[in-house]
C-alpha cells in the first residue's frame, strides 16, 4: 500500500471549553480513493472537511497530507496547499457573481506566479467546462446558470489546478434528485479521468452509495458504514 494521501490520527476538535465536535477521529484516504462521510446535521462533517483542507486546525491529534503534518505548515503554506493540492466544492458553490463561468474557474490560477501553469490555464478551463457539458456557457454569469450548472462550474473550479484531493461539502445539498445523480456521475467520472481522490461530506445516501467507502460520523467519531458502501 502506498503512503496515504490524507491521514487523520486521533483528531479531536473542540469549540470553546464545552463543545466537542470530534473525538479521536482516525481516517486514511489513499490517492484516487472515493470516500463519503455521512452524518446528521451538526454532527461535525463540515468541521472534519475543514480540518482536512487546512481551514481549521484540530484541537489535538495529527493531520497529515502526503505524510506531512499540516500543523507544522505556515498559513502561506496551507494556502498553497489548498491552491495546488486540494480543491473545495461547497454546498452554496460560492461563485463570484461578477465573473463568467470561465472566469470563475480561472480564479484559483490568479495566485500562481506568471509561467506555464498560468498560461495554459484558460485552455484547461475550457476543456474542463466542455467536459462537464458547459462548453457553450463559458461567458454566462452565475445568475444565468441553473443550480446544477453552477455546481458544475464550482466543480471545475476545484479541479483547475489539478489537485490530488477534492473535498466536497454537501455538493448536492441544494440540488434535486436528478441533478444529484448527474453530479454524482460527474464526480466519479472525474475521479477516474483525473485520478483525483474524492472526499464527499453528504447526508445523501444516494450520493454516498456512489463512493468506494462510506463512513458515518456518529458520536463525534468516524465509523465504517457497511450498509451503504459499494
Amino acid at each position: 500500500m502506498s503512503q496515504p494521501l490524507v491521514q487523520l490520527q486521533n483528531v479531536d476538535k473542540r469549540f470553546g471549553s464545552q463543545t466537542e465536535v470530534l473525538r479521536g477521529v482516525a481516517l486514511e484516504v489513499q490517492p484516487r480513493d472515493t470516500v463519503a462521510v455521512l452524518g446528521p446535521s451538526g454532527s461535525g462533517k463540515s468541521t472534519l472537511l475543514n480540518i482536512i483542507g487546512g481551514l481549521l486546525p484540530p484541537s489535538s491529534g495529527k493531520v497529515l497530507f502526503d505524510g506531512e503534518d499540516l500543523q507544522g505548515r505556515s498559513a502561506k503554506q496551507l494556502a498553497a496547499l489548498r491552491n495546488r493540492e486540494i480543491g473545495f466544492i461547497f454546498q452554496a458553490h460560492h461563485l463570484l457573481p461578477q465573473c463568467s463561468a470561465l472566469e470563475n474557474v480561472l480564479v484559483p490560477t490568479l495566485v500562481h506566479p506568471p509561467g506555464d501553469l498560468r498560461t495554459t490555464a484558460p485552455d484547461r478551463a475550457r476543456a474542463l467546462l466542455e467536459e462537464v457539458g458547459l462548453g457553450d456557457r463559458l461567458q454566462h454569469r452565475p445568475g444565468q446558470l441553473s443550480g446544477g450548472e453552477q455546481q458544475r462550474v464550482a466543480v471545475v473550479r476545484a479541479l483547475i489546478n489539478q489537485p490530488r484531493l477534492l473535498l466536497a461539502d454537501e455538493p448536492t445539498g441544494s440540488l434535486d434528485e436528478e441533478a444529484t445523480d448527474h453530479l454524482g456521475d460527474l464526480l466519479c467520472a472525474l475521479n477516474q479521468r483525473h485520478e483525483v481522490a474524492l472526499l464527499v461530506v453528504t447526508h445523501s445516501r444516494r450520493l454516498a452509495a456512489r463512493m468506494q467507502r462510506v463512513l458515518t460520523l456518529r458520536d463525534r467519531s468516524l465509523h465504517e458504514d457497511a450498509d451503504t458502501a459499494q
Binding site: 475543514n50 483542507g53 481551514l55 481549521l56 498559513a75 502561506k76 494556502a79 498553497a80 496547499l81 489548498r82 491552491n83 495546488r84 473545495f88 461547497f90 452554496a92 460560492h94 463570484l96 457573481p97 461578477q98 465573473c99 472566469e103 480561472l106 480564479v107 484559483p108 490560477t109 490568479l110 495566485v111 484558460p122 473550479r157 476545484a158 489546478n161
Partner: protein, 1101 residues
C-alpha cells in the same frame, strides 16, 4: 484573467455601492483641492496687487519732508542707464465739491509724463495738466466723483523748517486745491500705487508735478525719486551725482565776497553736514542764531530779539582772517555764561561790562509744548552796531519773520505778544532787521538751542574755500545721513505680497470636518460593500488566496475608485474655490477687508490636492475594511458571517472614567478666572461630553437579556446594546461633531460693555482718532487749544493721549498681506502707565517689578534696540513673532536698529501698530512731526459731543474719530466671521455625517436580515419592522445630539448671559437641521433595508 480584471469586474457588479463611495471621494477631493486653491488665489491675488502697487519700479527714494532737485532723477537715470522719475508725495484730505463726501488720508502724488508708463499695464497716459487730477477707483467711489467733476483736496504744505521746531508755524500747514477729475485709473494703472504694504487700496490722487511745485512754491523740487534700478545701483548713482541743492544747502557769499556761508532752507544744519564741513574746512566758523523772548535786567527788558552763538567748529584751528571779524563777536575769552551785546542793546537796557542779563527763550519739549527757559549771563563787553556786528545775514530765514517788513507783521511759530514791542523795537527792525543783539559762545548756544534737527544755522568759511566746498561737500556726506537713500521696492513687495496667514491651510482646517465626513462616508460604504461580499472573500481564501492577496484585490477597487473620484473632484475643485471666493466677497467680507480676490487655479496644487485625496481615500478605505479580513475563511463562508458577538468590557473602568471626566468638568468651571472663562467652560464642556459618552457606553453594555420587553421601543433600545461598541461610536461621532461646531461659538469675541474699563481692549478710552496731517501742538495745553480753536468747556473731563506715527505696514488682521515694517506709534509711556490701560498677556517685567509694564518702553536695551509693545494677536498672527523677538528698521539717518517686542496686550484697539516710547520715535524719525493718532478719554455720554467738537476744530488736518468699541468690533468681526465659516463648513460635514448614520442603519439591518425576517414570520408587519429599525437608530441619533448639545451648552454658558448674549436662534436652527437630516437618512435607510421578502431573509439570500 488577472487581478486587475477581477477588480474591475467587482467594481462593475457592485456599482450601486461604489457610486456612494465615488461620490464621497469626489466630495472630499472637491473640498480639499478647492481649499488649497483658495490659498493659491489669496496668495497670487496679493502678489499681483503688490506688483500692481509698484509697477515696474524697483526702488524709491522717499525723502519725506526733504526736497531734492527734480533733475536729480535725470542725473541718476543717466548714470545708471536706466529710468528714474521724480515725483512728489504729500498727504491730504479730499472732499467732493459740495462737501457731501469726504475722505482722509489721501496720498497726493505730483507726477510727470511717463509715470503711468511704468505701471503694470504700461499705459501711455500722460500726467494731468494744471488744475487737473486723476483719481484711483477707490477715491472716486468714496467721493462719488466722476470724470469731469470737481473735487477739493487739502494738501499738507511742506514746511521748509521741521514742523516741530519751535520756530515752525502751525498755521498754513495745509492748502486747498480745487481740481477737475480727468480720469480714473484702475489698479493695474497705479490705482494701487503706494509705498506701504497693504492689500487695502489707498486713496490716490495724481496731479501734475510742475503744477504742485508751483502751488507749493518749490520750483524744481521733488521728495520722491522712482527708478527701475536696484536700490544699491541707484544709491551709488545718487552719491555720484547729487549736489548741494539736493541736500537743500546753498552757498552764499557775504561780507563783500570775503566769506562764504553754508546754510540750509531747513534753517538748521544736520549734524552730518556740520561734520562734513568741518572735515573739509577745519577753520570754519559755526553759527546758531535764535529768536529769544526777552533780554532782561532787574529793571529793564528788551523783547523779542536775535542772539547768535558763534565759534570755530574746531577750536584747535586758528580762524582765518576773513572770518576774524565775525569770530571776534564771540572771542576765545568769552566765557560760557558771558554775553557780548551790541550798543543798541546796551543803550536799551543800560548795560555795561559786568552787568547781569537774563535771556528767556522758548523751546519745544517732546510733548510739543512750549517751555520757556532762561539763562543768566554777565555782559562781557559791548560792541558797536557796525561791521560784523551789524551783519543781518546772521539771522536765518525764520518763517514768519524773515519776510516781515514790520514787527507788526511778525508771525513766528512761537507765541509772541506784539504789544511788548515799542517804537524803538520797530525802528531797530526797520533798520537792522534780525541783526543779533547779543553774542555768546558756540558751545553755549548749542547747549541752549540744539535740537534733533540740527545744532547750527550756518557755517562760514573764507571765500577761497567756496569752490572746494561746492565740489566736495557732497562727497563727504552720506546721503542716507540726510534720509536720502533708495529703498528696495520689489523685494518687500513680493515678501509683503505673501499672505500673513496661509489661507490654503486655513481653509483646509475650516473644511476639515467636511473632508473627514466625506472620506468616512466613502470608507464606510466601501467597507459595507466588502462585508456584503464576505462569501467572496471566504471563497478566495479557501481556494488558496492568501489574506494579503485578497486584501490587495479589494484595494485595487479602492484605488480605482479613489483615482476616479479624485480626478472628478479635482475638476470640481475650481467650483468650490469660486464659491468660497464669492462668499469671501460677500457674506465673509469681514475676513478680507478691502481686498479683491481673483481665482487662481494652479495645476501643481490641483495635482497635489488630488494625490493627497487619493492617498487619504485609500487609507480610509483600507482602515475601514481591514476588519472584514480578520475573520477566517470558514466563518466568512458560513451563513452567520457578519454577525459578531458583543464583547464584555471593563465596567468599573468605564464608570471611573465617566466620574473622573465629570469631576474634571466641575473643577475646571469652579476655578475659572473671569478672563479665562471661555477656555475653562469649553474644556468643561469637552470633559462633560466624554463623561456622557462613557455613561452611554456603560448603559448600553448593561442592557441584559432576561429583562421584560414591554414594547417595540423597548426592543429597539435592547437592540442598540447588541453592538455596544458600534452604537457608542455612532453616538460619539454625532455628539463630538455637534459639540465642536456649536461650542466653537463660545470663542466669539464681543466688545466690552463698558469701554471705560481700563483692562478692556479699549484701554478705557472712549474714542480713537487719526489725522492725515499732523497736529503740531499739545491739545491739552492752552496754546494748543487756542491754536486749533478749542474751548476749555468743550473739553472738560476730556483727556487726550496723543501719539506720533511713523507710517508703516498695517499689521492688523485687516491686512491679509505680510507686514514687513509695521507702523510705529510713539507714546509717552507714563501716559499709559499711570492709567494702567490695556491688559497685558505677556511682558518682560521681572516678577518682583512693581512698575507698570508700559514703562518697559523706557528701559535701556542697548544702543540700537528700541523696546516695543504690541497687540498679542498682531504680534503672533500678522508678524509671526513672540515676546523677545525683534524686527529690523532703518531710521532717517540710514542706520539699522532693532525693535524688540517686550510686551503684548490682549485684543486691543492698538492692533496693527507697534507702540514705542515717543522719544525713541523722535530720535529715529525726526521728520515724523506732530501727532497723528489720539486716544481720547471722555465720558461715554459725551462722546458724540466731543466727537463733533474735535472734528470741527481739526477738520483741516483730516481728523477721523471712531468709538473705540467700534474699532474693536471691526477687528473682532474677523475672528467671529472665521467662527461662522467653521460652523458652516463643519455643519455641512455633520450633515454628511448623518448620511453616514444611514449607512450604519443599512449595515446593521442587513447583518440581521434573518432575525428581522423571523420577526416578520412571527407576525410583525412591514411597518412594525421598519419602525423597530428606525427607533433603534433614532435612539442613537437622539443620544448623540443630546450629548453634544448638553456639552456645548455648558461650553457656551459664559456667552449666553448679559447684554451681549450670543443669539441662540442660529444654534438651535443648526441643531434642528442636523436632527432633521439624521431622521431623514435613518428613515430612508430603514425603508431600504427592510425591503425584500421574508423567505429570502430566512434563507439568508
Amino acid at each position: 484573467m488577472n487581478g486587475w480584471l477581477l477588480a474591475l469586474r467587482g467594481m462593475r457588479h457592485y456599482w450601486r455601492t461604489h457610486v456612494g463611495v465615488l461620490l464621497g471621494i469626489v466630495c472630499a477631493t472637491t473640498v480639499l483641492v478647492g481649499a488649497l486653491s483658495v490659498g493659491d488665489s489669496v496668495r497670487l491675488s496679493l502678489r499681483n496687487q503688490s506688483l500692481q502697487r509698484i509697477g515696474q519700479f524697483s526702488s524709491v527714494l522717499a525723502a519725506g519732508d526733504r526736497f531734492v532737485q527734480a533733475d536729480l532723477a535725470d542725473r541718476i537715470g543717466n548714470h545708471t542707464k536706466g529710468l528714474c522719475v521724480p515725483a512728489m508725495m504729500l498727504p491730504g484730505v479730499a472732499a467732493s465739491s459740495d462737501g457731501a463726501s469726504r475722505t482722509g488720508i489721501v496720498d497726493v502724488f505730483g507726477i510727470t509724463d511717463g509715470f503711468f508708463a511704468m505701471s503694470t499695464k504700461g499705459s501711455a497716459r500722460p500726467a494731468p495738466g494744471t488744475g487737473e487730477a486723476i483719481l484711483n477707483e477707490r477715491l472716486a467711489l468714496q467721493l462719488q466723483a466722476k470724470v469731469g467733476e470737481e473735487i477739493v483736496v487739502r494738501i499738507e504744505k511742506p514746511s521748509l523748517m521741521p514742523q516741530e521746531a519751535a520756530m515752525a508755524t502751525v498755521d498754513e500747514i495745509s492748502f486747498a486745491l480745487r481740481v477737475k477729475v480727468i480720469d480714473i485709473v484702475a489698479e493695474d494703472e497705479f490705482g494701487r500705487f503706494g509705498l506701504r504694504t497693504s492689500q487695502v487700496p489707498p486713496f490716490n490722487l495724481f496731479v501734475s508735478l510742475a503744477w504742485l511745485q508751483e502751488e507749493l512754491e518749490l520750483p524744481g523740487r521733488a521728495n520722491m525719486l522712482l527708478t527701475d534700478q536696484s536700490a544699491e545701483s541707484a544709491y551709488d548713482a545718487l552719491k555720484a551725482t547729487w549736489q548741494l541743492a539736493d541736500a537743500e544747502l546753498q552757498l552764499t557769499n557775504r561780507n563783500d565776497d570775503t566769506v562764504t556761508e553754508l546754510t540750509s532752507t531747513r534753517i538748521f544744519l544736520d549734524q552730518a553736514i556740520a561734520d562734513a564741513a568741518q572735515q573739509l574746512v577745519p577753520d570754519a566758523l559755526g553759527v546758531v542764531t535764535y529768536f529769544v523772548n526777552s533780554l532782561k535786567t532787574e529793571s529793564e527788558a528788551t523783547p523779542y530779539s536775535m542772539i547768535s552763538a558763534i565759534g570755530p567748529l574746531d577750536g584747535r584751528v586758528p580762524t582765518p582772517t576773513a572770518l576774524a571779524a565775525t569770530r571776534a563777536l564771540a572771542p576765545t575769552s568769552l566765557g560760557a555764561n558771558q554775553l557780548i551785546c551790541n550798543q543798541w542793546l546796551a543803550d536799551d537796557l543800560k548795560l555795561q561790562a559786568g552787568s547781569s542779563i537774563e535771556v528767556a527763550f522758548w523751546v519745544m519739549n517732546s510733548q510739543l509744548q512750549f517751555e520757556e527757559q532762561t539763562r543768566s549771563f554777565t555782559v562781557h563787553s559791548i560792541v558797536p552796531l557796525a561791521g560784523a556786528a551789524a551783519d543781518q545775514s546772521l539771522m536765518p530765514a525764520f518763517p514768519g519773520l524773515a519776510e516781515a517788513r514790520s514787527c507788526r507783521d511778525w508771525d513766528p511759530g512761537v507765541p509772541v505778544d506784539l504789544q511788548q514791542l515799542d517804537d524803538n523795537d520797530q525802528k531797530y527792525w526797520e533798520q537792522h532787521k534780525g541783526t543779533p543783539k547779543g553774542f555768546v559762545t558756540l558751545a553755549t548756544g548749542r547747549e541752549m538751542w540744539s535740537n534733533r534737527f540740527g545744532t547750527l544755522t550756518s557755517v562760514r568759511v573764507a571765500v577761497e574755500h567756496r569752490t572746494r566746498l561746492a565740489a566736495e561737500l557732497t562727497n563727504n556726506i552720506e546721503p542716507r545721513a540726510l534720509n536720502l537713500f533708495f529703498q528696495d521696492l520689489r523685494g518687500p513687495a513680493l515678501a509683503g505680497g505673501m499672505p500673513a496667514t496661509d489661507f490654503g491651510s486655513l481653509y483646509l482646517g475650516l473644511s476639515f470636518f467636511l473632508i473627514i465626513a466625506a472620506l468616512l462616508l466613502a470608507a464606510m460604504l466601501f467597507a459595507f460593500g466588502v462585508e456584503q461580499r464576505h462569501t467572496e472573500i471566504g471563497t478566495l481564501l479557501a481556494v488558496g488566496f492568501e489574506p494579503p492577496t485578497v486584501r490587495w484585490l479589494f484595494a485595487r477597487e479602492a484605488l480605482v475608485l479613489a483615482t476616479l473620484g479624485s480626478a472628478i473632484g479635482a475638476a470640481l475643485g475650481a467650483s468650490y474655490t469660486h464659491a468660497v471666493l464669492a462668499a469671501l466677497d460677500t457674506l465673509w467680507r469681514d475676513t478680507i477687508g478691502q481686498t479683491t480676490l481673483t481665482a487662481h487655479i494652479v495645476p501643481g496644487t490641483v495635482a497635489v490636492g488630488a494625490s493627497c485625496a487619493v492617498v487619504a481615500a485609500v487609507l480610509a478605505i483600507w482602515v475601514a475594511m481591514r476588519r472584514a479580513f480578520r475573520k477566517p475563511a470558514v466563518e466568512l463562508l458560513s451563513a452567520n458571517a457578519g454577525t459578531d458577538q458583543p464583547t464584555a468590557g471593563t465596567t468599573w473602568l468605564r464608570r471611573a472614567v465617566a466620574l473622573a471626566a465629570l469631576f474634571g468638568a466641575i473643577w475646571l468651571i469652579a476655578r475659572a478666572q473671569p478672563h479665562r472663562a471661555t477656555s475653562a467652560f469649553f474644556g468643561g464642556g469637552a470633559l462633560l461630553l466624554i463623561s456622557i459618552l462613557v455613561a452611554c457606553r456603560d448603559l448600553l453594555a448593561r442592557s441584559k437579556a432576561g429583562a421584560h420587553l414591554r414594547s417595540v421601543a423597548t426592543l429597539a433600545v435592547r437592540n442598540c446594546s447588541r453592538r455596544p461598541g458600534r452604537s457608542t461610536a455612532t453616538i460619539a461621532l454625532l455628539a463630538s461633531g455637534t459639540f465642536l461646531v456649536v461650542a466653537i461659538q463660545a470663542n466669539r469675541l464681543t466688545p466690552p460693555t463698558d469701554p471705560t474699563e481700563r483692562s478692556a481692549g479699549t484701554g478705557g478710552f472712549t474714542l480713537f482718532g487719526r489725522t492725515t496731517l499732523p497736529v503740531l501742538r499739545d491739545l491739552e495745553s492752552d496754546v494748543g487749544r487756542e491754536a486749533y480753536g478749542l474751548d476749555d468747556d468743550e473739553l472738560e473731563q476730556v483727556a487726550i493721549v496723543p501719539m506720533r506715527v511713523r507710517n508703516g505696514d498695517d499689521a492688523s488682521c485687516l491686512n491679509l498681506a505680510t507686514a514687513q515694517n509695521p507702523q510705529l506709534v510713539g507714546v509717552r509711556p507714563q501716559a499709559f502707565a499711570e492709567r494702567e490701560c490695556f491688559r497685558f498677556t505677556r511682558n518682560e517685567a521681572k516678577q518682583n517689578d512693581t512698575d507698570n509694564p508700559w514703562l518697559l518702553l523706557n528701559k535701556d536695551y542697548g544702543d540700537d534696540v528700541v523696546p516695543a509693545i504690541g497687540d498679542g494677536g498682531s504680534v503672533a498672527w500678522a508678524l509671526h513673532k513672540k515676546l523677545g523677538d525683534s524686527l529690523t528698521y532703518r531710521d532717517e539717518a540710514g542706520n539699522d536698529f532693532q525693535v524688540r517686542i517686550v510686551g503684548t496686550v490682549a485684543d486691543s484697539i492698538l492692533q496693527g501698530n507697534l507702540v514705542i516710547a515717543d522719544h525713541h520715535l523722535q530720535q529715529r524719525f525726526p521728520s515724523a512731526s506732530g501727532y497723528r493718532m489720539f486716544l481720547i478719554d471722555a465720558p461715554p455720554e459725551r462722546a458724540e459731543q466731543v466727537t463733533n467738537d474735535l472734528s470741527r476744530a481739526l477738520l483741516d488736518v483730516g481728523l477721523e474719530l471712531t468709538p473705540t468699541t467700534a474699532r474693536l468690533a471691526a477687528f473682532q468681526s474677523i475672528q467671529n466671521t472665521y467662527l461662522v465659516i467653521f460652523q458652516l463648513l463643519g455643519g455641512l460635514g455633520l450633515l454628511l455625517g448623518t448620511a453616514g448614520l444611514g449607512v450604519v442603519v443599512l449595515r446593521n439591518t442587513l447583518e440581521r436580515r434573518g432575525e428581522l425576517a423571523t420577526l416578520r414570520a412571527v407576525g410583525f408587519d412591514h411597518a412594525a419592522v421598519r419602525r423597530l429599525v428606525f427607533c433603534e437608530h433614532g435612539v442613537l441619533l437622539l443620544l448623540g445630539l443630546i450629548a453634544g448639545t448638553a456639552a456645548a451648552a455648558l461650553a457656551l454658558l459664559p456667552a449666553l448671559g448679559g447684554e451681549r448674549a450670543m443669539p441662540l436662534t442660529p444654534v438651535l436652527g443648526f441643531i434642528a437641521t442636523i436632527a432633521i437630516s439624521g431622521v431623514l437618512w435613518v428613515w430612508a435607510a430603514s425603508v431600504l433595508a427592510t425591503r425584500g421578502g421574508t423567505l429570502a431573509g430566512l434563507r439568508g439570500d
